[in-house]
Symmetry: C2
Subunit: 566 residues, 2 copies
């Protein structure tokens, strides 16, 4: 596996052997290592010294169920710190087929032209983006697939990324060619836009799957992992109800963000639940699909295709975080309306979490009406029109709150809190506060831990375990839900890695990778100017009690500061 | 001298003896001490845990020339760090007449009503602000003077402070009752607005000047200081040409911010120079006055009254920083136009530096035309109308640049750079980068140092000396220009303090006070999460050469990091 390095200023490209220090890492861990080695931590995230990096995880390339994710990273223009955001789809798989362990994109072009980077077995081709610039994600993807064929993997940005809005993501095609799998968080789309890259097209099918040192052992471990995964009860839940299956649980815990995080339960929760989602999709038929896989070989199929009453696609998929942030958080209780808003943010190429949170803040400032999807649409049209208000919203919740003078802003390190109110799920609050990534549930969700989520005691330890495991999974390229299988059969991680690479690692490898990754990320952030003062939830969450549990966030700060010790 | 403490949540008030550790400090140094002692450094600057503090400097209260300044401070909502901003006028003097060493305003009112705090020899009276809320600074001041008499000192906020815009200042009356002396920087007006205080009215003339331990020695030192001050050639320059006297020098050095800091010389510099200002004002007569004093007893009289062709006041004063940021920086070469813009920002209660810089950034983003004052006015009307764009601009240059996607943003620690381009006056660049206050020329201007301002060598030492001296002067309550006299007769500082307080300090007292102040401020910032990573100029200033000298900022970062050592 090689490192492919693209210099945009010189329009040059090189293939390099992977340095020894990078070989044992992949995905999120490798991104942190490269950022620390090559990107000045105090650089301007949208300037020429930042680098945009793609790295498939260590297990990517073999169609292992839920293990072909692509990590994208850079210094974040949203948080000012280290950033990794991973996604499913076909980008990771096809990069490994070209033998790419890391794709590093450096510098900025000297001209104003937008580029498409086309990668194939010959190398990198710099091509003019042409009239695809300025188009939404869906039209862009369609045009790119027309131009480059329907089998290539594509990572692209929408108007938000072109405008360098700091809530812009990078959108990848799923296994069926639908632009739907998003490196959503932290403004990586803005970094791609700052480098004037509209899309990266990866013709991986010219290449082949990466080598496996011990094919037999690998397949044995794969079978065992798959069996454990498919036997886990959650796998069926996610297949049936998608990620939306958690709406009820979150609502029950009083942690469902409602009307800009002013309430923890939503009176219309039933309507936006996974159960209702499933019954709607089964009833509507046509192109509707309650159990869709975003990656080849995924046995969980937590994705879905949301269709209207005629069975025509509105959006694919509709996920829990979007339901929470653009549904209950905006007082909107209709999945149809949420799906249409979801289509619109996707088309703009925006993170639905940060954008949903920004709309909630805007609603509190009187710019839209809670419960009124039309007014939310109008605000998204402001983004499309690139008005100052639209640009503001596209920069996410933290900046929106600052400018609009709203104090109830759900964000940590400049990044919006996801759809678990940290006052009611305190371990996840600890994750939001202390993760080097800024607020992010995928950095260490604790909602399934068997603890009292309202008790401030013990949450730091629960968050710590979750953060280490998640950093490990993100380094493997494993989906958060692959964890159901790996947790039941942890030795399969060891066996898969040893068989794939000829290593001799032991059962603690997941935690070793997780700890190393977090250490690297924290070191980057330390050099970028972060201290424990930044490892805090917003003050108002420590003061304002959340109904119905009347809870505030009250985990001891000194205990949080010790989370990463030892 | 006492500490007066107001709790807004309880609507209570107490007088306290000054704690021993606070007695030897005043002004900026005392603010830093109080913030460190009482305000949680990680608190929300616009939340209930921040405090708004007013502290006259150590020499305030005796009508010493240029030594009656008032320091206001809080944790800054603009920078997130320690903030002191000082101003002339009558606020400092009258606070000392009531025996107030520090006025500490805590908490937030539970209701929505706006307050006026009236201070007299009886204590503090909480009064409803009534219909003065929502009015501009000039109409508000007029109404307050009608209500409370024309002899009271008043510190008030305009619409920008009411809206909690982070470039909002606090405006004080000058000795003639004109609202014109502004604690402009760092968003202190927003902090006052977050506490729902429209104005503080100080009936100081009910009290008396603070006691002097050795009246005779004090008067002798005063005479010596005044003589040194009046003999200094710069005193005459500032009297004749106001602060605008420096336009030519700055332009000559190629350091005059022009068209959003893209150039260092302005082809219309002559028109906006102090020399032209003087000739215009002398020619127009009427209420025009080229040599106006903002404080009783000031021998310099660097202020002015700018009048139109009929001799009617447009604004008072027009100062160099506004000329630089709202004139050349916007490509505007007419003092009349600058004066009208100046009136408007004053009326809104905004910092003309951060607002001018924000307009420059907006011009670069295409929202106004360089050189077109009407389009600048239209943008200020957006602030008045409280539109999202207006709120954005009122939050200052850094946020404006972030949202509008402009990379050429002149700001450090979130605060706009003042009217000396740091690439051409590198010592001042070191001050901008390293001052705990964020970019601020008053924290240590180096333009008069006899060095090559383009040479990166030696600038750290020059900045260090300037920063220590300025922190000392700000602690005394002395105007930056009082330094002309004190520098020529440094022992008078010692003599004045010993005579005033019965102390026994030596000639190094200015530097002692300056060093202690900086140390306290840096400690507050450290706890608030600042590190050397924040002590940097924006990256583009290290990359983009400034015409005509083609200079970048290239002072060694490690040398800057050592500035405060020892």
């Amino acid at each position: 596996m090689e490192v492919w390095r693209i210099n945009l200023h010189e329009r040059s490209f090189s293939r390099e052997a992977t340095p020894a220090a990078w070989q044992r890492l992949g995905g999120r861990g490798l991104l942190a290592r490269i950022l620390l080695d090559e990107v000045p931590p105090t650089c301007d995230p949208l300037g020429s010294r930042n680098k945009l990096i793609f790295a498939p995880g260590l297990l990517v390339g073999h169609k292992l169920s839920s293990c072909d994710r692509i990590s994208a990273g850079a210094k974040s223009p949203l948080t000012g710190g280290v950033k990794e955001s991973n996604a499913g789809g076909s980008t990771g798989l096809q990069l490994t087929y070209l033998g790419i362990k890391a794709l590093i994109i450096e510098g900025q072009p000297s001209g104003e032209d937008w580029l498409i980077l086309r990668l194939d077995s010959q190398g990198v081709h710099f091509e003019p983006a042409g009239d695809v610039v300025g188009k939404g994600i869906y039209a862009s993807a369609e045009e790119l697939r027309r131009r480059y064929g329907t089998r290539a993997a594509i990572a692209l940005i929408g108007p938000a990324g072109e405008m360098r809005l700091t809530a812009a993501g990078i959108v990848n095609l799923d296994k069926d060619g639908v632009p739907s799998r998003i490196n959503a968080r932290g403004g990586l789309g803005a970094v791609m836009g700052s480098k004037r890259i509209k899309a990266i097209v990866i013709d991986g099918l010219q290449g082949k799957a990466p080598p496996i040192q011990d094919e037999k052992a690998f397949r044995a471990a794969q079978r065992e992992f798959t069996k454990a995964l498919m036997a886990h009860p959650q796998t069926a839940t996610y297949r049936d109800f998608s990620t939306a299956g958690i709406v009820h649980m979150c609502n029950l815990f009083g942690a469902l963000p409602t009307r800009n995080f002013s309430q923890g339960q939503f009176e219309l929760a039933e309507q936006i639940s996974g159960e209702n989602l499933r019954s709607i999709l089964l009833e509507r038929g046509g192109k509707a699909d309650p159990s869709h896989a975003c990656m080849v070989g995924c046995g969980i199929r937590c994705s879905n295709v949301y269709a209207d009453q005629n069975g025509e696609v509105i959006v694919s998929p509709i996920e829990y975080e979007t339901i929470g942030l653009m549904g209950s958080n905006l007082g909107i209780g209709s999945l149809d309306e949420i799906a249409r808003l979801n289509y619109k943010v996707n088309d703009l190429g925006l993170d639905s979490i940060d954008t949903g949170a920004a709309l909630g803040v805007a609603a509190e400032a009187g710019l839209m009406k809670f419960g009124d999807a039309q007014s939310a649409h109008r605000l998204l049209e402001e983004v499309e029109k690139a008005t100052p208000l639209g640009r503001l919203l596209g920069c996410g919740a933290a900046v929106t709150g600052k400018v609009l003078g709203v104090r109830r802003v759900p964000a940590v390190k400049g990044q919006a809190i996801s759809a678990y109110d940290p006052r009611a799920i305190k371990g996840t609050g600890v994750t939001y506060a202390t993760s080097p990534q800024g607020a992010d549930h995928t950095a260490g969700l604790t909602i399934r831990a068997k603890i009292n989520h309202l008790d401030p005691q013990g949450q730091v330890e629960v968050s710590r375990t979750a953060q280490i495991n998640m950093a490990g999974y993100d380094t493997l390229g494993a989906c958060i839900f692959a964890g159901f299988g790996f947790a039941a059969a942890p030795h399969t991680i060891r066996d898969l890695l040893n068989a794939r690479y000829g290593w001799n690692v032991d059962e603690t490898i997941l935690q070793q990778l997780g700890k190393e990754t977090l250490q690297l990320e924290r070191e980057f952030n330390r050099r970028a100017g972060f201290t424990s003062a930044h490892d805090r939830l917003p003050e108002w969450m420590c003061e304002e009690a959340l109904p119905p549990n009347r809870c505030v966030f009250d985990v001891d700060e000194r205990e949080m500061d010790g989370l990463f010790d030892g």
